[in-house]
């Protein structure tokens, strides 16, 4: 029996396939957009308001870029990637822990890691909206 569009079930089936393809394309586009935003946040192309714990003054954008401390041969902070973030490991003398999006964003805002260990003062505290944090998280998981 050949497949035709004369029957309603076949039309419904075709419509469902088209919608699924469009949804998948849309999801891919959103992820790519998030990744681009995440990258811009990570390398400082897009500035995030930040200050040090206990300080009143805001940091200038160029002093608060993630890449300053997390990238390069003179990095003083851990490299950020899916492996380093998702894999359970002891951090800063605490028990083994791993990040999820919520704990990652909490760390950026409050300076507390998943094991409730306070980060050193060198790590700025960021004012980062949920959408931006999600984008940064998505980008880092692709590294």
């Amino acid at each position: 029996m050949s497949l035709t569009l004369r029957s309603a079930p076949n039309r419904l089936l075709l419509g469902g396939v088209i919608m699924a393809l469009c949804g998948g394309a849309l999801a891919f586009a959103m992820s790519a957009e998030d990744a681009a935003l995440g990258r811009a946040l990570y390398d400082g192309q897009r500035a995030l308001p930040a200050q040090l714990r206990g300080h009143d003054e805001a940091l200038p954008a160029h002093a608060a870029r993630c890449i300053n401390c997390h990238e390069g041969s003179s990095a003083i902070a851990p490299a950020l990637s899916a492996r380093s973030l998702l894999q359970p490991q002891a951090r800063r003398g605490g028990p083994p822990s791993h990040y999820d999006e919520a704990s990652f964003c909490r760390l950026l805002r409050d300076g507390v890691d998943p094991a409730w260990v306070l980060l050193p003062r060198e790590m700025p505290r960021y004012e980062i909206p949920a959408q931006d944090c999600r984008a940064l998280w998505s980008y880092l998981l692709q590294r």
């Binding site: 003054e57 940091l59 160029h62 300053n68 401390c69 003179s74 990095a75 060198e122």
Partner: protein, 201 residues
């Protein structure tokens, strides 16, 4: 070649410190929170030729005499803590203007004579909108370690690769080291300490 070697040395100092046992050399104060707080007795800063950010030659002991000084160690090629240190000094500059403390200067001294010269220091100052009371200077290569040694400014082993602590050191009007601030102390706390130093002399 020399620049490469020098910067590698700077980046490896924290590892080298761990190997060489800096905590043993500097005594019990280096365990836990490190060297900070009032310095008693106050040692006089060592004699040290410097080149200022505007190219003028001077000496550390001349710069320090007659005014209170907040001093930090940095180098312009440092991308991690030094930009933050510069930001702290920028905030301090603002707070000092508001506090109207007389005869106070800020001094950023490079620990990388191979990588830093007057031009690099001038550009670094400009990035933070440094005013007239904020000087930057670099010693000659042969004497690069003299000031860090005097300040006992070595990072906690394993803590960083910048080769210096992000502390601010306060000098009195006689050019003597009087106070070591905590690492990355706030501008507010530095102003408070300078105010006490001005009051106590």
């Amino acid at each position: 070649m020399h620049s490469f070697t020098r910067r590698h040395l700077l980046r490896g100092l924290s590892g080298g410190a761990a190997v060489c046992g800096w905590p043993m050399l500097l005594g019990a104060q280096t365990t836990g929170h490190g060297l900070l707080g009032p310095v008693d007795p106050r040692p006089t800063a060592p004699g040290l030729p410097l080149t200022l950010h505007d190219g003028r030659p001077t000496r550390l002991e001349h710069l320090l005499r007659g005014r209170l000084t907040a001093l930090q160690l940095m180098f312009t090629g440092c991308s991690s803590t030094c930009p933050i240190q510069g930001a702290v000094f920028a905030g301090l500059q603002q707070r000092l203007a508001e506090a109207r403390l007389p005869a106070v200067q800020l001094l950023s001294v490079s620990i990388d004579p191979l990588g830093d010269d007057a031009r690099a220091l001038a550009a670094w100052r400009q990035r933070f909108h440094a005013g007239e009371q904020w000087l930057a200077a670099v010693p000659p290569l042969a004497l690069a370690e003299r000031l860090p040694d005097f300040l006992a400014s070595r990072p906690t082993p394993g803590k960083g690769a910048d080769g210096h602590t992000p502390q601010v050191y306060l000098f009195d009007r006689q050019g003597r080291l009087a106070y070591r601030m905590a690492e990355l102390a706030s501008a507010t706390s530095i102003v408070k300490a300078l105010g006490e130093l001005a009051r106590l002399g």
